[in-house]
Amino acid sequence: MTSGQHLILGEMPSLSKLYVNAAATAARRRILGSHAAAVLPAVSHEVRDVRPDVENLTAYQHLLGETASDVLPAGFIHALAFPVAISVMNRDDFPLPLLGMLHLRNVIEYSRPVRFTEPLEIVARAETLRAHRAGTQVDIAVEVRAAGESAACWCGVSTYLAKGVFLPGIDKASATAAPQGFTAPDPTGLWQLGVDTGRAYAAVSGDFNPIHLSVLSARALGLRRSIAHGMYLASRALADVGSAKGDAFRWDVEFEAPVFLPARVALDISTAESVDGGWQRSDYVAWSPRSGRKHFSGSVAAL
């Protein structure tokens, strides 16, 4: 993250303002037509001296099934950094429309436990604009450092898809192999997600994207019902893996069918141990016990 411009924001951007601005941009582009170039802005956004609110941390930990310890859960840091990531995607020179983007994939490397008392520096930039069979995808890369440290303690890459958006100059992806059939294993867990799941996660993560909040707000954006936040689901799976994962781990998730609320979600977590019996990795997969469709899958592995 050294090339290009570096923009230091004076404070953490407000997500609600960003969403309102994104809606206005969407409307403007619809009327005036899009003149977006097929290049990403060569700029990174940074916010310094970020101090997590401990009450918010506790509420997050309780909602996700984490113990309220002083260490920030990996998913909490994602939520903490999310406004910085969104601010990059909300730039006028960002070529894809922010609203309606789908979260395809997320990879996080958490290299040491970060305590809530440590002031953090968060840097985000967009990378690797590329084709997808259903549109255009982009990576938002985020690095989090403790103030005064040179190495990042947390790195995340979120891959988003702008469905149906094909930019000039970006070749259409060759048709990928048909998704493999999924046969559900025996579940190790079953989640009952109430209709308020999206609102509850919005309250602790600050992500008030309307598609998660209510049937009506989701319908306004073309969905039949509200859907659970992807990072809520992945973070609950991470909490289920538990303390076996130790202090440094890589956590990835691949999202498939969205979870419409309310829902029951079946989950399987399988653990791989080294010869001496120590934990090496846990793989998880979640599906709908009713339809058998896979919702998401991923892994947590020792770094």
């Binding site: 506790t58 309780h62 113990t67 309220a68 809530f116 538990g242 303390s243 076996a244 130790g246 120590g278």
Partner: protein, 450 residues
């Protein structure tokens, strides 16, 4: 075919060390933390200190006095949330404020009998995140509703609800059989033993000064892990003075005939916190290259008939200690450190007064005269509950870990291992006391009765 059974032998149970989180005044830093959160935090600090990650511990026992019904498996859930091996069994225990000390004694006994090689004792309480129950009226309506089958039945049941049924039922420190709060009970005892306001304030002052000095000396550095921004007990007032304590208005015993002497300064406040103690056999501690600070020698429980005032609610340890010491061939003069839990300054002072009283010794303790005098320079030398606070079930673990370290540092006294006495009073007129000794290989004072 008969199996050769190992002969039942009694071996030593040692205190390896302890860990707690700083205690916080209610409504403070831990307001939103649950019992499970705090117990897990204390446990994870202990695990980190002694390298117990993924270790299968023989058994973990802990408890809470104020407990949500959802916390029926509180200790096991804390273990599952901790870095211990998930194959570590656990159970909950509840004996009011004696919970923590009783977990130590129960687990130490299992180690002594060879049933366990390692164990973690503990306790936690939150007065901030206290459970609130629905009223009896609403509870009965809800249960009946769940059994009703038809709409008319449901409506009939709902019609029984009265506005007063909607008022929640919060826990209190009121004794169920007397309706008096713990403070009011102690006020009766304090007056009965003629304990002065000045003596109570002086004990409170010493508690704050001793605890502050222990923090300043780094005594708690290996007994505590910070949590939610706290690095010291938030109730500690290092700068309190006799004048400040004297200026406080009495809060308990104001309706008694005699002068009210118990204030917020010489009574413990409601507190949130958790503590843990690692116990082991000598072999287990050696195999894991861990310290052996002290040996758990013996324990004794007592209860008093407080309901109609024969004895004070918190006076059970007055009876437990003479029995414990007699069984071990010891007197108060043999003890190097006294840890008498300061539920109220009046509790400690009433206890000491009863032991110094000739008539009480003869008539109630069945002795030839007074039980004896506690050397005040050996009492709560690193502070106690008046300064640290008292998250009910967490106090026993705090005291045992503190005392074990003190005994270890003292080593020998008068040619034999230093001895420490723990005394904890509890609701329901109960008390649990314990005898610990600085660890030394070979025979101990505890062997006298073995």
């Amino acid at each position: 075919m008969p199996v050769d059974r190992q002969p039942q032998t009694v071996r030593k149970a040692v205190v390896v060390g302890g860990n707690r989180i700083p205690f916080a005044r209610t409504g403070g830093a831990y307001t939103k933390s649950s019992n499970q959160d705090m117990l897990t935090a204390a446990l994870d600090g202990l695990i980190a200190r002694f390298g117990l990650q993924e270790e299968r511990i023989g058994e973990v026992a802990a408890g809470a006095v104020l407990k949500h019904s959802r916390d029926f498996n509180l200790t096991r859930e804390a273990v599952l949330g901790s870095a211990l091996s998930p194959e570590t069994p656990a159970y909950d225990l509840q004996q009011a404020c004696a919970t923590g000390l009783e977990t130590v004694l129960g687990l130490a006994n299992k180690i002594r009998l060879g049933q366990l090689d390692s164990a973690i004792a503990g306790g936690v309480d939150s007065a901030s995140d206290a459970p609130i129950a629905v009223s009896e009226g609403l509870r009965e309506v809800l249960l009946d509703l769940s059994r009703a089958k038809t709409l008319p039945q449901r409506l009939q049941i709902l019609a029984r609800l009265r506005p007063k049924d909607l008022a929640p039922d919060a826990p209190s420190t009121r004794e169920p059989r007397t309706g008096l709060s713990m403070g009011e009970h102690q006020a009766l005892t304090t007056a009965q033993w003629n304990i002065s306001r000045e003596a109570q304030d002086e004990l409170a002052l010493n508690s704050h000064r001793n605890l502050a000095a222990a923090y300043d000396a780094g005594f708690f550095d290996d007994l505590l892990t910070p949590y939610r921004g706290l690095t010291r007990d938030s109730n500690l007032r290092p700068d309190t003075s006799p004048e400040k304590l004297a200026s406080l208005k009495p809060v308990f015993g104001r309706s008694l005939g005699s002068e009210a002497t118990m204030t917020a300064g010489n009574s413990t406040p409601l507190t949130d916190g958790a503590s843990t103690v690692l116990l082991a056999s000598e072999d287990w501690a050696d195999a894991h290259d861990l310290p052996k600070l002290a040996t758990v020698l013996d324990g004794e429980a007592a209860a008093v008939d407080f309901v109609h005032g024969k004895d004070g609610l918190l006076m059970a340890p007055v009876f437990a200690v003479p029995r414990l010491l007699a069984r071990n061939g010891l007197t108060l003069d043999d003890i190097d450190y006294f840890e008498i839990h300061e539920a109220f300054a009046g509790t400690v002072l009433s206890t000491l007064a009863a032991w110094e009283d000739e008539k009480f010794g003869r008539e109630r303790l069945g002795l030839d005269g007074a039980f004896g005098k506690v050397d005040r320079s050996k009492l709560n030398v690193n502070g106690s509950s008046l300064a640290a606070g008292h998250p009910f079930a967490a106090t026993g673990g705090r005291i045992v870990a503190t005392l074990a370290k003190m005994l270890h540092e003292k080593g020998k006294a008068g040619g034999r291992p230093a001895l420490g006495l723990v005394s904890v009073c509890a609701a329901g007129g109960q008390g649990v006391v314990a005898l610990l000794e600085a660890y030394s290989a070979g025979t101990t004072a505890g062997d006298i009765h073995d």
